[in-house]
């Protein structure tokens, strides 16, 4: 009862945010610059939350997320530009094909642990990028022309769906299995959890939403090129998750919002932006290695939540 109440509160909040922003856009208070920043923010949040499921919840250190972003971007661009189907089909297909890519990458590599997994996913992302670089159908290094279809509505609906799916997954039995893998893989294996299954599942779900983000990303610009999906993009996404706090969904969201604002503001000075980025990254790791929020959620700081938590424990 209480859980569903919280869910509807979240939906209400989402609807309010959406309508206020949509109103501001239609009345022309927000120009294209601001609405573009908001769309970019939504895309970054989707990416951050999808990687949060893999790194923060399941504890699998994947640093090749840009590869799935690339798959999503190219697949949806092919569907809308070459096959001339509607954008919504592009988004769905992008997600599905990225999931398949996630399975192809995940099934062999998730046997690896820690650093080895990190480097293998990095390698896979780079291979995906080089494949796109060598396919003339999608324009090779010159890239591919894409129409601008992404609107605030598309971006926001995808964002809300992502957050709902990932929160529900995390709070489900499967999500708890994933958390147990994060805490201790050997022990959870010994407790009878099918670790391979859950690792691959989390990876595939993460890849699906990265693909959706890729579709939005591609149609937010007029051109996509393999250069956009290199190591740096993967590290960008990684930074959202790490800075927000490994294991905290709201942390990833907050970090994605903050860093999108900072990087939009510093767009004219790319080196300065990267210097600030890297300094922040190093300082956070040195002095607060658990990230801004640690593993806590923003709702944990609200007063009414604490009281309810105590009651809930008694009831259980």
């Amino acid at each position: 009862m209480k859980k569903s109440k919280r869910f509807w509160l979240f939906i209400l909040l989402a609807v309010v945010i959406y309508s206020v922003v949509q109103l501001l856009i239609t009345t022309g208070v927000f120009g294209s610059y601001y609405s573009n920043t908001l769309i970019l923010m939504a895309i970054n949040i989707i990416l951050a939350v999808s990687l949060h499921l893999v790194i923060g919840i399941t504890g699998q250190f994947s640093i090749g997320h840009a590869g799935f972003l690339a798959v999503g971007a190219y697949i949806s661009a092919i569907i809308t530009m070459k096959l001339e189907l509607p954008f919504i089909i592009g988004i769905i297909a992008a997600g599905i094909i990225a999931t398949l890519a996630g399975l192809v990458v995940g099934i062999p590599t998730l046997r690896l642990r820690g650093d080895y997994l990190a480097i293998a996913t990095l390698g896979f992302a780079e291979i995906i990028r080089i494949i796109f670089l060598n396919i003339d159908y999608v324009g090779g290094a010159a890239g591919m022309q894409v129409s601008h279809y992404t609107t605030w509505t598309y971006a926001f609906v995808c964002l809300v769906i992502t957050i709902i799916v990932i929160t529900n997954f995390t709070n489900s039995r499967h999500g708890r299995a994933c958390i147990s893998i994060r805490e201790n893989e050997v022990a959870s294996d010994a407790m009878g959890i099918n670790t391979t299954f859950y690792k691959v599942a989390a990876f595939a779900i993460g890849a699906f939403f990265a693909g959706v983000a890729g579709a939005l990303y591609a149609h937010n610009f007029y051109i996509i090129q393999p250069v956009n999906f290199g190591f740096l993009k993967s590290f960008d996404i990684l930074i959202f998750v790490v800075l927000g706090g490994l294991g905290s969904l709201s942390g990833s969201v907050i970090a994605a919002i903050l860093l999108t604002l900072v990087s939009t503001y510093l767009q004219g000075f790319p080196e300065t932006r990267m210097i600030i980025y890297s300094l922040v990254l190093i300082l956070v790791m040195l002095y607060r290695p658990q990230g801004l929020l640690g593993t806590r959620e923003i709702t944990d700081f609200l007063p009414f939540k604490k009281a309810r938590k105590g009651v809930a424990q008694h009831v259980k």
Binding site: T109, E271, Y277
Partner: protein
């Protein structure tokens, strides 16, 4: 005799990878950290070589030694400032710090000295001579002999000196080495110094070979050298050498057989195959994780 020529090219390239891979493998062996900033130390070495030849007018070998000394100090500074606090932190925190340091060096460098590539001076006479009908440049031979000399010196340091013994002890068991009275911090710093010096040397000979250097040149060779280290079995010094040479030769042959655009992918395909079928590398022993 086209293929002999390609083989020599591949070995020259491979010996550059091997020199960088040695630094990776030593650092990984001792503190289990993938030092992403290592490729950037290589870049810095290259630029120190460039400025000491062009700016100070030094000859090639003095420039090489200067770059090695500078990089050794630079590597120790990185370790002391960024990694020392994280000795007991999670592996992910350390890895992310390394990524941060790498981005900071690259962008700090671009911010200060600009992003333009520089033409490395052609300081060695570009002669060639023929063996079995293959044209082999003097540069290739020089690069190969410098690499072999440095690797022999490294083997000597690791196996015959006190600091080498300490390094092996710390990489075997950090805590036990500390109990035996080894200064673990100094040993780790020495490892960083030696590894970075080798990367610096690799940077200078890379400049000599490719004649063009730029602030982002460290990224791709850095990752490939890491692949070489994994290929040979990370943490094993002869493994890094063999891995580097194998990778260089494979890459040159992929390039020569008309797949030049796939050259970078070759390294990653090898990496993934190795990780899937033999994650401990060519020389590695199979170990099971203990609870």
């Amino acid at each position: 005799m086209e293929w002999i020529q390609q083989l020599v090219n591949g070995i020259s390239l491979g010996s550059i990878y091997a020199l960088i891979a040695l630094g990776y493998t030593m650092v990984y062996g001792i503190i289990k950290l993938i030092n992403f900033a290592h490729g950037d130390v290589f870049m810095v070495g290259s630029f120190v070589g460039f400025y000491s030849i062009v700016g100070l007018g030094l000859d090639f070998f003095t420039a090489l030694v200067l770059a090695m000394i500078f990089c050794a100090i630079f590597g120790v500074l990185i370790e002391r400032i960024a990694y020392k606090r994280l000795r007991n932190a999670t592996r992910i925190a350390a890895l992310i710090t390394a990524i941060g340091v790498s981005l900071l060096i690259e962008n700090g460098f671009i911010f200060t000295w600009g992003p333009q590539p520089k033409a490395f001076p052609d300081i060695i006479a570009n002669g060639t001579f023929e063996i079995l009908g293959a044209k082999i440049s003097i540069k290739s031979i020089l690069i190969l002999s410098i690499s072999i000399t440095l690797m022999v010196i490294l083997q000597f340091i690791v196996h015959k000196t006190k600091i080498g013994k300490a390094m092996r002890a710390v990489s075997h068991d950090n805590e036990a080495a500390r109990l035996m009275g080894i200064n673990v911090d100094n040993t780790i710093s020495a490892t960083f110094a030696i590894g970075s010096a080798l990367a610096g040397a690799a940077g200078v000979i890379f400049g000599l070979y490719y004649t063009k250097i730029d602030p982002l040149m460290g990224i791709i060779p850095g990752i490939k050298a890491f692949v070489a280290a994994v290929l040979g079995g990370i943490g094993i010094i002869p493994g890094a050498m063999v891995g580097g040479l194998v990778l260089g030769v494979i890459e040159t042959f992929v390039n020569a057989s008309g797949f030049s655009l796939w050259r970078d992918a070759a390294a990653f395909v090898i990496l993934i195959l190795i990780l899937i079928f033999r994650p401990n590398g060519i020389f590695g022993k199979n170990t099971r994780e203990k609870v």
